[in-house]
Symmetry: C2
Subunit: 479 residues, 2 copies
């Protein structure tokens, strides 16, 4: 591995040294205020957090015209940049809040999250250590989140909603292209918080990359960094901080067609996994074909993909199998190419797909474990045992049987909304909803007349022994 | 915060540049072998992991004389270093495996862990997303652990035991002072693994710091670093790697004497928290006294501490309250000192204690949240409401009511043994047993005739809606 490097997108323009800048007092103030707001909020009941979300929804409703007008100005400025070649055209669609049902689903998301059960105070382990000495492992928020995202301004609302419901303070930094919209959304959130007992510093917004770089040094106050955006953004942040980072670096998903794969299932699952939204991280990038179905299932899948305009990068066996294919349009044969070793482990994010043949399920699993980004991988099979082996042996956040990789999503999993999808293994994995924003603490209570001390316990005669009897509860009785 | 620096203890002696060294092919081989062993092991049933632990216990029994002879040689070499002033005397006690019941409790630990329930395959979330489409969140091991520890050679066995039971591969690096003992213990573990179907590269041992530094760069293969040892060791490792680090940096624990504190409980809990094992991270370092009990509870506690030879560093009110104290020995008054601002947040790890007065529970909580290392803090109180407020408001891994801080320990919590105590908030917090070495993955299975695809779902008319019906299960039915 090369030494950690900082991405130029995160380097403060006023410094040429590779040392991170000394935190400005302004960022230190922001981080300290966030931590203080978090600590104060621990004694505030869950009902206030729900009230805050209801106030945010009301505030957004009332300010709709103003916000969409600001969004139009952001879009207009971005169009200039796109014409000047300074910005990718794809960003425009993500930036525009008037498109489709974006506004309504943003509002619905706030209500959905408000109505989810309180994720705080849930007991996951409880033991009676001794008579009158009870231990509880209880869910509680992590602390202060620093969330960095690109383009889509409604993410301000999504993240603030999840942070408030999960009991975490948050510092938010959006892309500069959505600046006017994001500022207004933040103002609505602050105003809503001021109508509750939650401190108004609970959700703060910052604007510049140099502020981010300064905050990334403040590991005493910031507990978790969540970058939402490109691979480059995520990697540059991981390289710039000691604070834990939760994010995904790549979405290289596989579908494996097992020797028992059903043709119709294979066609449906592969086509949906590729074309439903090719730019998404949960789209398939490599198809693995068992050699026993290379002349049966594979040609049918290939035909369906070609008809949807997908470019195929094939190894020799899958290429050869297509030589007999009858295509409705001659143009489609231009979409068939030989693969190179580089094709495998490539994240196209477009209508392209690498294809490779294997001799067995075990080889397929080895290929996936070596090339996958450990996001989501799928097997198409009629063999229950093969499905179970795949689910156990593939080392990814999602292992699917006969279902499109596109199901890997917090909303689809039932989390209401998601803060992102984690390909890390630590803390949270896969789509991250409220649960992924909680940690836990241990509460121990002695009800004994003289309290409880350790020196009374031990292996020697006359010493007490631990009971470790399970307490069956989901909540702490004395809270 | 200053820029990340590397501790000299971890810097490779052959390089003067601050760039991390390029991984040696030998370390890359070790890391790759560990990852391959981990991936292969995913299909091995739990019974093989239990068998491996039984074989380890048998192997240790058979090699007892040989191992203790090697340990004597390590101790003899260390004694030379201690006499030459090159090693702290405290290390000798930790190094010596013949002391007390160390050997027997090491063996018992292996059996205890073997008998714990399998932590793999436990379902923590299960939903029916649609007819015939079931989602399971299932516990599974993290991957490859790099565990770095000092002095105590039996830690090799503790960690290998936890790693094998939890399904993780591990690379272990002990202190050089325990080299001969650790080598033999590793050999016994390897031999035991060779009697099972678990790959022998599952547990590997390395010897030198430069090997550690090279491995810390291999974030592609190593998933979690667990340093067990001094604050300096933990910080230097955090600064040298992008791999997530699970450890605790400090143990600055508090006991707060509330205005309703019972005198006898206060004396028992504070004395036990301080003197049971002062060098442990879960010992108390600062006592906080509510001003309403400064002339009642505090003098009794102080007297008990002084009689146990504890040095007290007091603020003005607690100092003044002691002026009327009658002490059995004049010498003890030498143990009372005024505190300085530096006294608070200090980890003595010895028979010293800082004392501060506060006007309320809220001030006590603010003091703790500002000065604690978020390890374990305790309130002594007769007021149920005050106990609940303390448990909610104190932002630490352990919040205790009328129980000694020394209870913060994996064995005492009922985990069998522990891999360490985490003061981080991410992934695991407090004592870390088997649970803390698991992550999870999502398994999704379609039983529908045509499989499941995303494009059939949506808000529009005619599209399917998600059911998100809870499935009540603790295990995956098809595994």
């Amino acid at each position: 591995m090369s030494s950690p490097t900082r991405s130029p997108t995160l380097r403060s323009p006023t410094r040429s040294s590779t040392l991170p800048p000394k935190p400005e007092s302004e960022q230190l103030k922001i981080a300290k205020a966030a931590k203080a707001a978090f600590q104060k909020s621990q004694l505030i009941p869950a009902s206030e957090r729900v009230k805050a979300l209801q106030e945010i929804r009301k505030g957004l409703d009332a300010a709709k015209d103003e916000i969409l007008a600001a969004n139009k100005r952001d879009v207009a400025a971005a169009e200039v940049d796109v014409r000047a070649g300074k910005m990718a055209e794809g960003l425009l669609k993500r930036l525009d809040m008037t498109k489709g049902d974006k506004w309504d689903s943003m509002l619905q998301g706030v209500t959905d999250v408000a109505e989810l059960p309180d994720p705080i105070g849930v007991v996951s382990y409880a033991k009676e250590l001794d008579d009158d000495l009870d231990l509880y492992r209880v869910s509680c928020p992590i602390g202060v989140l620093l969330v960095i995202f690109e383009a889509r301004p409604e993410v301000v609302v999504n993240i603030a909603t999840l942070a408030i419901k999960s009991g975490n303070a948050a510092i938010l930094k959006g892309g500069k292209e959505s600046n006017e919209t994001a500022q207004l959304l933040s103002k609505v959130i602050q105003t809503a918080l001021s109508r509750t007992t939650i401190p108004s510093d609970y959700i703060q917004a910052i604007q510049t990359r140099s502020e981010v770089l300064a905050l990334l040094q403040l590991d005493e106050y910031i507990d978790l960094v969540i970058p939402r955006g490109s691979n480059l953004l995520v990697k540059s942040i991981q390289n710039a901080t000691k604070i834990p980072v939760m994010g995904h670096a790549d979405g290289i998903c596989h579908v494996y067609l097992d020797e028992t794969a059903d043709i119709e299932k294979a066609v449906r699952v592969v086509v949906d996994s590729k074309i439903d939204y090719p730019a998404a991280c949960n789209s398939v990038e490599t198809l693995i074909v068992n050699e026993k179905v290379v002349n049966t299932v594979w040609p049918a899948v290939a035909k369906a993909l070609l008809e949807k305009n997908v470019e195929l990068f094939c190894d020799s066996p899958t290429l050869f199998a297509l030589s007999k294919l009858t295509l409705t349009s001659n143009n489609l044969s231009n979409h068939i190419h030989p693969s190179s070793p580089d094709s495998y482990g490539k994240e196209y994010l477009s209508l392209s797909l690498s294809v490779v043949t294997v001799d067995s399920l075990l080889t397929a699993m080895r290929h996936i474990n070596a090339h996958s980004s450990h996001h989501t991988d799928c097997i198409v099979t009629e063999d229950e045992q093969a499905g179970a082996t795949f689910c156990k042996g593939v080392d990814s956040a999602g292992t699917f049987i006969n279902a499109s990789t596109r199901f890997a999503d917090g909303y689809r999993y039932g989390f209401g909304t998601e803060v992102g999808i984690s390909t890390g293994r630590i803390h949270a994995r896969g789509p991250v909803g409220l649960d992924g924003l909680e940690t836990y603490k241990y509460m121990l209570r002695s009800k004994a007349e003289k309290g409880h001390i350790v020196s009374e316990f031990g292996a020697a005669e006359g010493k007490k022994k631990f009971k470790h009897a399970t307490i069956d509860t989901k909540s702490v009785p004395f809270l």
